[in-house]
């Protein structure tokens, strides 16, 4: 299991979002506002986002944790924690 710092996790999130919603401009995302208010993604897109994170980071994200991925900041926190726990 590779270890990731917050900066790397943030880049991985942007890559996953960019593959789903290519028009997303990372610099314009407000880190504390819900992502789905800022990006036009539906539940299908969101599931693909989770699948991409799963493929890149090797962690399984249960549905009950989806709420932790609402904003960019909370997603970075959650994924950093989960990756560290898998060490």
């Amino acid at each position: 299991m590779t270890s990731y710092n917050r900066e790397q996790i943030r880049d991985i999130i942007f890559d996953a979002l960019g593959a789903i919603a290519p028009e997303v401009e990372p610099a314009l995302i407000a880190p504390d506002r819900p992502l789905r208010e800022q990006i036009d993604i539906d539940s299908f897109d969101f599931l693909n986002f989770i699948i991409r994170l799963h493929e890149t980071l090797g962690i399984d994200i249960p549905e009950k944790d989806y709420a932790e991925l609402l904003t960019l900041n909370s997603a970075v926190e959650y994924l950093t924690r989960r990756c560290a726990a898998q060490q």
């Binding site: 890559d15 290519p22 599931l47 699948i51 399984d60």
Partner: protein, 396 residues
């Protein structure tokens, strides 16, 4: 001799441009095989043939705009001998729409752009390069349909741009305008011709929601079901109980459909929508429905739809709950006779056994054609939907 004709890929389609033949004379073709690419107002579509045989002759050449019903090719069915005197390409079929060569030339790149502009997937490095080279990323095509656009694709587009700047630039906005025209035509016809009636019913979906939660807990992330999937199955099964809502109203007559082909309203990135069919939704497992839905949405957004998906939905299902909408009263897509709508699942106060409890509730709606059914039957459909959703384990 089987005559392969330009199919109608929706009520709003009068003609389509034959972009590419995927067969040539002498080829063996199978029933259901994709044989041509046709550009419609709603993008490029893979057109299937519904006969098995040998291609005798291609009547229309690629690049031509052809009205619906026009002969495109001739097929020798099994055991049939070859035609004695093959005719020259393009000599048959007088009413082909005359198209100026300039328009034909522009139609080709537009069709390809249409297929990808719905939802492109772009590598960040490719996006950066496109900005540096001044290439419009919307006009760049991936090496393979549906693939992520790479730096190499951008470089190739930059080279093409220096050769044909006008065509590449005109592509995307024109496609959006065409999409709006197609929607305008179908929806205006619907409101002009169809006497809609509208029903709504609040349904307690606590059981199906918790069933799905438990089910998804057992599944890896790649096998999870989207919340809409059990609803698709329940809608399809309820339609079997009230068949007056499933089929077509054509030339003043009701034509029921034995099969339930559920047209899924899918929004396209940047505006517009399509409602292609999931075939035989009432007979598929939830896993199969999820796989089909995944395949369909992926192709709506980054690939191409097939002609049968465009032409044969027997009813439409629209799910606007994700935008926070509580109820949606749809406009029927002619010649269908019903559209079922689902709003957002919310926790609401609910009276049960004389007490107020908190339940997960959704507003299900039906807009139906009063020529084909009455409100009473429509009400039975919503009641059946409610009943089916109370026993989620039986939806599998």
């Amino acid at each position: 001799m089987y005559e392969f004709r330009m199919p109608s890929l929706g009520a709003d389609m009068e003609a389509g441009t034959l972009v590419e033949w995927l067969i040539k004379p002498g080829d063996e073709v199978q029933r259901g095989q994709v044989v041509a690419v046709v550009e419609t107002q709603k993008g490029a579509v893979d057109v299937e043939i519904w006969e098995t045989g040998t291609v005798d002759k291609l009547v229309v050449e690629a690049g031509r705009k052809v009205p619906v019903g026009e002969l495109l090719a001739l097929l020798r069915t099994v055991g049939e001998p070859a035609a004695a005197a093959p005719e020259t390409l393009g000599t048959r079929g007088a009413p082909q729409v005359a198209t100026a060569p300039a328009i034909v030339a522009a139609a080709l790149p537009r069709a390809e752009a249409a297929a990808v502009s719905a939802r492109q997937r772009v590598a960040p490095a490719a996006r950066k390069l496109a900005e540096e080279l001044g290439v419009d990323i919307a006009s760049v095509q991936a090496a393979e349909p549906g693939a992520v656009i790479s730096r190499a694709d951008v470089e190739r587009a930059a080279q093409a741009k220096t050769l044909t700047p006008a065509v590449a630039k005109a592509a995307a906005p024109d496609w959006h305008a065409q999409m709006r025209m197609a929607i305008a035509a179908a929806m205006s016809r619907s409101k002009r011709e169809i006497p809609h009636y509208y029903l709504a019913s609040d349904i307690d979906v606590t059981a199906v929601s918790s069933w799905l939660e438990t089910e998804n807990l057992k599944r890896s992330v790649t096998e999870r079901l989207l919340p809409v999937v059990p609803f698709m199955k329940a809608v399809a099964l309820a339609l079997r109980e009230v068949p007056e809502l499933n089929g077509f109203w054509i030339d003043g007559a009701w034509r029921p459909s034995a099969a339930v082909h559920l047209g899924m309203a899918i929004a396209m990135r940047g505006g517009g929508l399509v409602a292609p069919a999931i075939h035989d939704a009432d007979r598929k497992s939830l896993d199969q429905l999820m796989a089909d839905l995944r395949d369909l949405i992926t192709r709506v957004r980054s690939g191409r739809l097939r002609s049968s998906e465009m032409s044969d939905p027997t009813v439409t299902f629209t799910n606007l709950g994700e935008q926070g909408v509580e109820g949606v009263f749809g406009v029927i897509y002619p010649p269908q006779v019903a559209i079922v709508g689902l709003g957002k699942i919310t926790e609401r106060p609910w009276v049960e056994g004389g007490a107020v409890v908190v339940r997960k509730v959704v507003t299900a709606t039906l807009a139906a054609d009063h020529r084909a059914s009455d409100g009473h039957r429509g009400g039975l459909f919503l009641a059946a939907l409610d009943r089916l959703l109370q026993e989620p384990e039986r939806l599998r």
